[in-house]
Symmetry: C2
């Protein structure tokens, strides 16, 4: 991975508070979009990602295509080529039953994570509670 660029701190600062589009978050968004759209393909998903992404970084084509292939090899989506219409052929993806279940699991995981983060934010903004010396 090349040095992650953080909008807050610039390069040469190994910070990740910018939160790159790590595949952990690309994956669930792809699953959700496929559920909402019924079927779709890479190029089309890329355009919709921006509106549904969990972070505000732009999605990375390479990650998206590789995520789709991985989801297929895991049985969460299936695909077939569509050559009709104008322009190059599209690989049309669709959720499998297993993929729907996987999306539900992601919802459980992210719900839990979301609550933890809310708690974190509350604690972090609390005006520096009583300083307890590290005990031993």
């Amino acid at each position: 991975m090349r040095k992650r660029f953080c909008a807050r701190h610039g390069k040469d600062y190994p910070c990740s508070c910018g939160m790159g589009n790590l595949y952990r978050f690309v994956e669930p968004v792809v699953l959700l979009l496929l559920k909402m759209k019924g079927t779709s393909y890479g190029y089309d998903l890329a355009a919709d990602m921006e509106g549904h992404a969990l972070t505000d970084t732009t999605i990375e084509k390479g990650v998206l295509y590789r995520t789709l292939r991985r989801l297929e090899s895991n049985g969460n989506v299936k695909s077939e080529w569509e050559s009709e219409g104008h322009g190059p052929a599209r690989r049309i993806y669709k959720l499998t039953r297993q993929g729907e279940e996987h999306l539900e699991e992601w919802a459980d995981v992210l719900e839990h994570l979301s609550k933890s983060m809310t708690r974190f934010v509350r604690d972090a903004r609390k005006p520096a509670g009583k300083k307890v010396r590290a005990t031993r």
Copy 2:
């Protein structure tokens, strides 16, 4: 990285919905604990991590110590050895002013992420909206 073990899917399934303790989440929790405790050291932080971690995976010692070193090289914490007392010496860490600001940035980032996740969960559990064929 060795194959991540996912409690839901077992090994040999490259899934990350188990969410390992990636340093992106270890870092903010360390910053928060240092703010709450005033000062602390690696071994002590490790014990407290479980109660404040954003995910429910156990923290990894190696990641924790490396995170502390990285935070110091970035100027977010500073440390000094404490040899008094019984047992081996402890490297005592303390937030710098910059570290406090960095924690506030993390709070902003995680607040935004938390809201995105809540929206995701709501959408994911919506009973499969009207299937709109991919347009082009």
